[in-house]
């Protein structure tokens, strides 16, 4: 299980990286390599050249803006996991991080790598879709943006244009004080690749009712789904699991679930409902706590 031969470059700057990418046939970006290297080992991927962006400083940052937190594509997952700004302003991303593989892969894996390789059940992809993150990518000298909803088209496939380098991900930071997030997943084994995952972020009003909600589910269909209708239906309600089970089940009834040897479609739909309900419940509880503490990053 050895990768096919390739050339390797480690440019110092993004500029240089993009120049190499646009000049070389079959070049691919590598950062942490945690998704790409296994595929290369099995020769399911065989780039002619790897452009290593792991150490390009301008790709590794966490920047807070008024209405967003922007994370450099080569920021390592373990850095995001430990980051306080993200914990407060994009709590869902924070909450999902411990679920992303074992610590040994989070130590090297980057946010951009996870997004660009787009595994169907990958937690970061789900969070990006759920929160409506914007992907910034660069080809040559041109910067472009893609919304998460359109970015992931199939397992392992994105609309990232050829010869482009993902540079940053912009996560909307909600203005409401006291946000809460919930993340639940199940895999065949306790810390396996998830079979299904559910993500929720909630802002509550003073009465503890949902004011703003984002919900997503991964592994139910070929790409993660953002459940906007459900989110909308929950506005103005209390999100305790007992109160919302039926609405969630109803919202998922319309989804055509994947059906394969790992799990039946019926199972996926039911389990997704359970996970979504639990994620919402956790999110609401966390938001209530944060509200009491008066968490507000600004």
């Amino acid at each position: 299980m050895k990768a096919a031969a390739f050339e390797y470059s480690r440019p110092e700057t993004l500029e240089e990286a993009c120049a190499i990418l646009s000049g070389a046939q079959g070049a691919r970006v590598i950062a942490g390599g945690q998704s790409l290297v296994p595929l290369m080992a099995m020769r399911l991927e065989r780039p002619a050249r790897l452009v290593d962006v792991a150490r390009i400083a301008e790709l590794s940052f966490i920047r807070e803006e008024a209405d967003a937190v922007i994370v450099g594509a080569a920021t390592r997952q373990c850095v995001i996991e430990a980051n306080r700004v993200i914990a407060v302003r994009v709590p869902l991303l924070s909450r999902a991080m411990p679920h992303v593989g074992p610590a040994a892969t989070r130590a090297r894996g980057t946010i951009g790598g996870s997004l660009a390789n787009a595994d169907a059940a990958a937690e970061i992809v789900l969070v990006a879709v759920t929160l409506g993150a914007q992907m910034t990518h660069r080809r040559d000298t041109r910067l472009r943006e893609s919304g998460a909803a359109a970015f992931f088209t199939a397992p392992g496939i994105t609309t990232l244009p050829e010869r482009s380098c993902l540079t940053a991900v912009r996560f909307p930071a909600w203005p409401e004080p006291g946000l809460g997030a919930g993340f639940h997943e199940i895999g065949v084994r306790a810390d396996d690749f998830p079979l299904l995952a559910a993500a929720a972020q909630i802002a509550l009003d003073a009465q503890g009712r949902a004011r703003r909600v984002a919900i997503g589910v991964g592994g139910l269909a070929a790409t993660p789904l953002r459940l906007d209708a459900l989110a909308h239906a929950l506005i103005g309600r209390h999100a305790e699991p007992t109160a919302i089970g039926d609405i969630v089940t109803e919202a998922l009834a319309a989804v055509e679930p994947l059906d394969d040897m790992r799990a039946s479609g019926a199972y996926r739909r039911r389990a997704a409902a359970t996970l979504v309900t639990r994620a919402l419940g956790d999110a609401a509880a966390a938001a209530a706590t944060a509200g009491r503490r008066g968490d507000d990053a600004r």
């Binding site: 299980m1 050895k2 990768a3 096919a4 031969a5 390739f6 050339e7 390797y8 480690r10 590598i30 390599g33 945690q34 290297v37 296994p38 080992a41 099995m42 790897l50 290593d52 792991a54 150490r55 373990c78 593989g101 074992p102 610590a103 040994a104 892969t105 130590a107 090297r108 306790a190 810390d191």
Partner: protein, 161 residues
């Protein structure tokens, strides 16, 4: 391709193909065979080494990517020939292994855990080692070894502190 690696504190300049993984480089080029290979696709953790003190899978890193980091392998934990580190000794005290194939990865993972958290709970130990698969032991004696090492490190030696 020329690469300069820092392995167990020593700088090594080597010529490797870009496609050579760090684990193959350690084993086949440098002869550091204490790092083992169980899957080569990032699923078993047997190849775990420390990169700047943090566990990482050496089959998921090409050697050329490792330049500039401090790589620690199991060979780097024994400072004197024939003398085990306290953590390694704890692994022997509880018989935290059978075939020994996962053991270097387990010990390095535990080493990093204890460096960061000198008094881990059982749950924290379990979470830390859950990325390394052991097919032999059922893990209990490994968890016990790590707890024992932590306990021994906490109990101040007589006459100190």
């Amino acid at each position: 391709m020329r690469v300069e690696l820092t392995i167990n504190g020593a700088a090594r300049a080597l010529d490797v193909e870009p496609r050579m993984t760090l684990v193959d480089c350690l084993r086949d080029v440098l002869g550091l065979t204490g790092t083992h290979v169980g899957c080569e696709h990032g699923a078993c953790g047997a190849c775990t080494v420390l990169v700047d003190g943090v566990p990482a899978r050496a089959c998921l890193m090409f050697a050329v990517q490792a330049e500039g980091y401090a790589i620690t392998t199991i060979e780097g934990l024994t400072h004197t020939r024939g003398a085990l580190s306290p953590l390694q000794d704890a692994f022997c005290a509880t018989h935290a292994m059978q075939c020994g194939f996962c053991t270097p990865a387990m010990i390095l993972t535990a080493h990093a855990l204890l460096a960061e958290n000198p008094a881990p709970t059982r749950a924290q130990i379990v979470a830390a080692i859950s990325g390394v698969i052991c097919r032999c032991t059922g893990y209990a004696q490994i968890v016990e070894a790590i707890a024992l090492a932590a306990e021994r490190a906490r109990a101040p030696a007589p006459g100190t502190r």
